[in-house]
Subunit: 354 residues, 2 copies
Amino acid sequence: MANGANVITIKDIAKELGVSINTVSRALNNKPDVSPITRDRILESANRLGYVPNTLARSLVAGETCTIGLICSDLVNPFYARIAQGVEETARSNGYTTIIASTNEDDITERQAVDLMRSKRVDGIVISPTQQSHDHISRLLQDHIPFILVNRHVEEFQTAYVINNNQHGAYLAVQHLVSLGHKHITHITGPLRISSVKERINGYRQALQEKDIPFDPNLVIHSDLTLECGYKTTLKLMKTKTPPSAIFAYSDHLAIGAIKAIRELGLSIPGDISLAGYDDIEYAQFLDIPLTTVRQPMYEIGQRAFNHLIEIIQLNDLNPKKHQEILEPELIIRESTGRVTGKISHFPYTENPA
Amino acid sequence: MANGANVITIKDIAKELGVSINTVSRALNNKPDVSPITRDRILESANRLGYVPNTLARSLVAGETCTIGLICSDLVNPFYARIAQGVEETARSNGYTTIIASTNEDDITERQAVDLMRSKRVDGIVISPTQQSHDHISRLLQDHIPFILVNRHVEEFQTAYVINNNQHGAYLAVQHLVSLGHKHITHITGPLRISSVKERINGYRQALQEKDIPFDPNLVIHSDLTLECGYKTTLKLMKTKTPPSAIFAYSDHLAIGAIKAIRELGLSIPGDISLAGYDDIEYAQFLDIPLTTVRQPMYEIGQRAFNHLIEIIQLNDLNPKKHQEILEPELIIRESTGRVTGKISHFPYTENPA
DNA sequence: CTGTTAGCGCCTTCAT
DNA sequence: ATGAAGGCGCTAACAG
């Protein structure tokens, strides 16, 4: 654009044809009040010269960009990629363009991304927030910028969101492990500031409680939500004196890291240790050991997030409660979970009953 | 933006402070000729009101957007996701924003994406082309819009590109299979219009030729480049009278589909059949059977593509030859390939020597 | 049916 | 050091 690019404008067309620029504008926008002959000449000319409308100028006057922003932590993570796909495809089929920004779970990057989106005057934003701070969220709220949260929600404010029922999903996974006889179940998860982390811990506790298994806070390990951290955490965990007989990982990504560690230690899944994940990313079924996991509908989350957002934008709907949606997850039992064998595990609870 | 969003402009700041709008503009852009006191007042006001500059307006006058476009087939595919990450992170650290569009390997969508980018007046475009048609590419060329191809290149034109040495990569993989005793090697690949498909076939032939194994065109199967197609193609292939003893898949994604099929048929890898992929996506090492594959540096491809593009943009460099780069791939041997066993394979070549 | 005028938000050039 | 004028490309409102 800055270069010597051949970018032609309606002015060029107008000049060539000896008409006024807004006759050109009207013809190009299929507005009435243009004679068929003139219209044809203009269309022909535009086509021949390779006219491409300048969206910047158009948006500047229209006051809308038909563009939405999507802010999430990591597009290389298939989980977010799938949500992004849901948002993008739905947006596109509704005439909207999506701008995506990755934050790498970094607060500053997230705030910059929000500013970027705002400076580009997107009509609305979909955010999967890092939840390290939230004044940029509250600013969106007070400036009446349409936005919706996905995966996570900020308890401090009433906002629109689309999440899955994290507590119930975690409950299903842990209940499954418990039903296989596991009592010593470690939950590897992320930072406690994240709403879904909290909710899944609640589900974990709920499932234990139901079977009168005491809750041991030491069994909840807070790492970072990366494959690498899943690997390191599991490695350390399995080398302790009392390794668990089962692991419930916050995400499939974390679980994949766990698989790597378990394999490296020469242990077998589920023979030595059972493993369950969360999300059901596409690769979960192709893994070393097909992974038992809790499926959440990523694509649909993206899709519905956009649908809510578009309503907020177009109806200028300021009541967030109408746009808070919780989708139900589903337990997918594959081969990474099995009956407790006690091969490597010590059972402190039964040995030293509370 | 269309809604009642509180979006404030330099005009608002000017009005509040009783100064002219371009004093505000100068202060906000750290230009000289503003008294310290005025500058402070303006900055304070901007900050307090939550001023966010309007990039649309700024770009309109500046004639550049500091935005680039990235067009590729599928962001959910970790291969493209990784390239996208390379582009996006490099762009961001250079002050550029990236707009991404997925084409699903569809020609019309690709052309629409190009038009979208052009209408948004991106400063340049990175494209992994579908190669079904190329007049949109030639239009970029004749309109002097800076762009660079990745992964694939269009032979018809001299353009900038960053690709990997596909022929050599394929050669390495097939040479490896041949060295394990395989003679009946099927190559599952994509449509012949794609440059990398052609080049990898050449590498496949080269490796066979070197060991005087006759080339049988029937062993090159053209499917689509999706996991699903890899699955279906392999299923059909393994049910024929003369299934191969090894498969070289165009991509890891295709190979994962093949794994699914092979597993479903109750066959073992590499016991019954050896399998090699291409790309080395992150999951390749965590698969059912860790996959032997040809690693190409996806992140670096994205990174270098941006670096070339920025040169083309800033130096208005119209000599594409300086921006044609071929990166070297690397064979990664894992567990999905092994010595030929002849368990399920018939060897038409040795049985019926040519 | 067509042209003129004005303005979206911002920046550049030239006066003051 | 500051303001006024003009224009980026486009569209809306009005005039002819």
